[in-house]
Symmetry: C2
DNA sequence: CACAATCAACCTATCATACAAGTTATTTCC
DNA sequence: GGAAATAACTTGTATGATAGGTTGATTGTG
C-alpha cells in the first residue's frame, strides 16, 4: 500500500524516458560549447565537420543537432556560412502556442487571459517608463487603426504592433517577446471574433478602447492605463463569447 | 529624403530574408498535414519515407524537418515507431529563456518581473478557483519546504512545484506552462541568490512568504494572496540586489 | 596605392544508398 | 486460444558525392 498524494498532474503512463540518441548528445555538446565559450548573439560556431570530428560522430548527426537548435532559434543557419548564435525573439513561443491552440490543448479564452496578466503589467510600466517618442508612437498607431476598420489583415497587424509597442515601452525586453508571442498566436482565431462586429460603430468601439490605453500611457497614469486595458479585454472577451468560444 | 518614424526596434541591418530551403518547405508541409487532418495529441504521423515520396525530396530533408518539429516539441520521435503529435509543455519556452539569459539578452531581474506579472494573476485566480484538494496540496508543499532550507537542490524543486501548483489551481492550462518555463529558466541564477541568505532565520523568511501565499489561497482570499505574493517577490528582488544583479 | 574582378578554400544543402536496431503486425507452433 | 518466432516496417546513423553559397586571398588594373 503505497502512500502518495494525489498528483494534480495525472502521472502519465510514464513511458520510460526515451533513450538519449547521439543527436541529443550533440545538441547538449553544442549548447555547452556556446555557454562554455560565452558566445553572444552573432558569434560564429565551428563548422559541422569540426563538431563531427570532436564528437566522433557522422556529420549527419551534427546536422540534425544544428537543425534542432536552429528550430529553437538558438542558432541561425544559412547555406555557405557558419552558423551563428541567434537573437531572442518570440517566434518559438508563438509557434508553440499556435500548435497548442490547433490541437485544442488550450483555447483562445485562456490565451486572452494570459495576455491580460502580462499586459496589465506592461501598460502600467509603460505609463511610468515610456519616453516621449514612445508616447507619440502609440498615439500614432491608434490613429492608423481608425483608417482600417474594414481591412482585417491590416487591423490585425496594427493591433499587434500597438501592444508590442506598449511592451517595448515597459523597458523589459522580455515583455515585447511574450506579448508578440501571445498576440500572434491569436492570428488564426482573431478574425472570427472581429467578424462578429459587423457595424462600424461596434468596430470603432474597439479602436476607442485602444485609444484610451494610449492616452493613459501618454498621460503617465498607470492606474488609468490598467483600467483602460481591462475595458479592452472585457470587450474582447465579449467578442469571444459571441463567436462561440467559451 | 525618406520620411520615416524612428522605429523603436532598431531596424536590424535587415539581412535579406534567408531563402527558403527544402527543409523549411517540409516543415510547413508537415505542420499543414497535422493541422489539415486535425491531428490531436498522440496521433501518429505518416512515416518519413512517405513524406519524402509525397514531397519529392530525399529522406534526409524530411528527417531534418522532423527533427526541427521534434525540437519544438510539436512532434515526438522515437526509434522504430512513427512520430506522434506531442503534448504542450513549457520546456521549449524554458529553453528559449535559458538561452536568452545565458547570452545576456535578458537578465534575472527582468525574468522575475515577468513572473510577477503572470503570478499576480495566477494567485488571484487560484484563490477563487482552487479545489479543496489543491489547497491542501499547497499547504503540504510549503510544509515540505521547511525541511530543506539547507538543501539547495530540493528547495529549488519544491519552490518550482509550489508555484506551478498554484498555476494549476488557476484552471488555465497555459499558466502552469508559463510559470514552469519562467521558473525553471531561473535554475541557473537562483542558487546565487539563495546563497546570499546565510542564516537560518533569513531563509525561513522566504519559506514564510510562501506560507502566507498558500494560506491566502486556502482562505479563498485573492486580495491577500496578491499581497503575499508581492511580499515574496520583494524579498526575491532584495536577494537579487544582494547577489549583484540589478 | 586603392579598388575591383577573379579564384580558391571552405561551408552548408541535398541526395542516394546502406545497414543496425527498435516496434508492430503476422504467422506459426504448442 | 495463447505464446513465441518472424516478417515487415520504421527510425537512427554512417559514408560518400555533388551542387551551390560565402569568404577571404590573389591578382590585375587604373
Amino acid at each position: 500500500m503505497h502512500e502518495r498524494q494525489a498528483p494534480i498532474t495525472p502521472a502519465q503512463p510514464a513511458d520510460p524516458p526515451p533513450p538519449q540518441t547521439r543527436v541529443d548528445n550533440a545538441v547538449r555538446a553544442i549548447t555547452d560549447h556556446i555557454h562554455g565559450q560565452s558566445l553572444k548573439v552573432g558569434d560564429k560556431l565551428p563548422s559541422e565537420a569540426r563538431f563531427a570530428e570532436w564528437l566522433g560522430v557522422s556529420r549527419t548527426v551534427i546536422r540534425e543537432a544544428f537543425k534542432s537548435l536552429s528550430a529553437m532559434r538558438i542558432i541561425e543557419m544559412r547555406a555557405g556560412r557558419r552558423a551563428q548564435v541567434c537573437g531572442f525573439d518570440g517566434s518559438v513561443i508563438a509557434l508553440s502556442l499556435t500548435h497548442a491552440l490547433r490541437t485544442e490543448q488550450i483555447n483562445p479564452q485562456q490565451l486572452w487571459d494570459a495576455r491580460r496578466a502580462v499586459e496589465t503589467r506592461t501598460v502600467a510600466l509603460a505609463a511610468i517608463r515610456r519616453s516621449d517618442a514612445e508616447a507619440r508612437r502609440l498615439l500614432a498607431l491608434v490613429a492608423q487603426m481608425h483608417d482600417c476598420v474594414d481591412d482585417l489583415a491590416r487591423m490585425t497587424e496594427h493591433d499587434i504592433a500597438f501592444h508590442v509597442a506598449i511592451a517595448e515601452a515597459s523597458r523589459n525586453p522580455l515583455f515585447p517577446v511574450l506579448v508578440a508571442a501571445l498576440t500572434s498566436a491569436m492570428r488564426e482565431t482573431n478574425p472570427m471574433v472581429w467578424r462578429q462586429r459587423r457595424d462600424d460603430e461596434s468596430r470603432q468601439e474597439v479602436v476607442h478602447a485602444h485609444e484610451a490605453i494610449a492616452q493613459a500611457i501618454a498621460d503617465g497614469d498607470p492606474e488609468a492605463a490598467s483600467n483602460a486595458l481591462a475595458r479592452h479585454f472585457d470587450l474582447a472577451s465579449q467578442g469571444l463569447v459571441m463567436a462561440g468560444f467559451n
